[in-house]
Symmetry: C2
Subunit: 247 residues, 2 copies
Amino acid sequence: MAPIQALIFDVFGTVVDWRSSVVAELELVGKKSGAEKATADWARFAQEWRTGYMTKTRQIAAGASGPRNVDVMHREILDELLTRPEWSQIGELWDESTRQSLNLVWHRLNGWPDSVEGLKELKKHTIIATLSNGNVRLLTDMAKHAALPWDMIFSTELFDTFKPNPKAYLETMRHLAVQPHECFMVAAHIFDLRAAASLGMRTVYVPRPDEDVVVDVKSKAEGGEVDYVVKSFIELAQIIEQLNASG
Amino acid sequence: MAPIQALIFDVFGTVVDWRSSVVAELELVGKKSGAEKATADWARFAQEWRTGYMTKTRQIAAGASGPRNVDVMHREILDELLTRPEWSQIGELWDESTRQSLNLVWHRLNGWPDSVEGLKELKKHTIIATLSNGNVRLLTDMAKHAALPWDMIFSTELFDTFKPNPKAYLETMRHLAVQPHECFMVAAHIFDLRAAASLGMRTVYVPRPDEDVVVDVKSKAEGGEVDYVVKSFIELAQIIEQLNASG
């Protein structure tokens, strides 16, 4: 049996570039509705939407109440943003059907340039699975949209929690029938890897533009806290191939 | 939105030909261990293994206690078969490592001749997902082994029950965010389709050799109880393409 049986990927920011896709769709919807005059700062709107999600999922992961389905959560945050003074003018222009459609932009995100090629290569050597806070339908639609060749899609929605709650990682490992040392958690966010490492999982950090608050994550070999730091999934495929060939 | 958003497939017998794969591996393991002299009737052994699984999953679906993981269940049944008078000689020949390896034959089943081509075509038109009593790791390994291009793998293990318990179908639809009339359950077993239909799901029957106790299932158009009877997934792809084009 190969030493590394599964790679478990964070998705938003790690595999897909949410920022450019969301900003592009905001711009498009803004233009169509004449809202581009109300504000031009769609990058900030996108960041606030994402920040709302990060804050809320972290709170629920720690025990707070709230929706376990990210489509529902994204919609609640969108509606809240559109009541804020700086965006309420836009809120008046965007009706129910516009909001419903826009809310699903998170199902239509594109991979980073190395994502599809790297995942296809990795899939030859090991199981590649997601472990995302995104809901199942979102992740399924996204995989079709962005041609992400997952072997298995795990959503925390299946486990009624969010990362970084330990249950998310433990349930994923249980269903894959792998021990912590037999799998890697792959993420662009150190909080996700810290939670995985605390359960004995091995860790791969992939820095992505503007994704993390910690900017200088290092491998253990360089005195840091993660097992590997890689620039791309293609570099990761070389590492996995070597590990599984030598193991 | 397309009228049919998702096809949900039973797997053992419907997508993969468990019988020929399991019999072939039993023959191989039998020869290696010198057990072919003890019995030549591997087809009956395979059928008994399968029957044990069908009986046990149906009991647990109805509320009985027992393992929710099919790898565990398959192993319990295998060990029991090897204590029966007609096979106890083989039981003495097969050690722990032989049994462990043989038990995973259910991860290495091959598709019916139309399965891979049909699924690839169907995937262009709709979400294709499993809903199987097989555990997650089994279904993930099988998809890699047999090149089954699932968009999503649902295992009843995720929902702590087995088909035909209604929870299995309801949880699958909830996570796919589909209404019952927006999806088809596809199976070679009428009991599975009856459970799906009782919840409002649409149904496709695919007769497969020696798979069902009911041998003459008809479509509603022919006075029967299912929505469609198809000979192959390729025929099903033509139906879905027409439905989604006209809807």
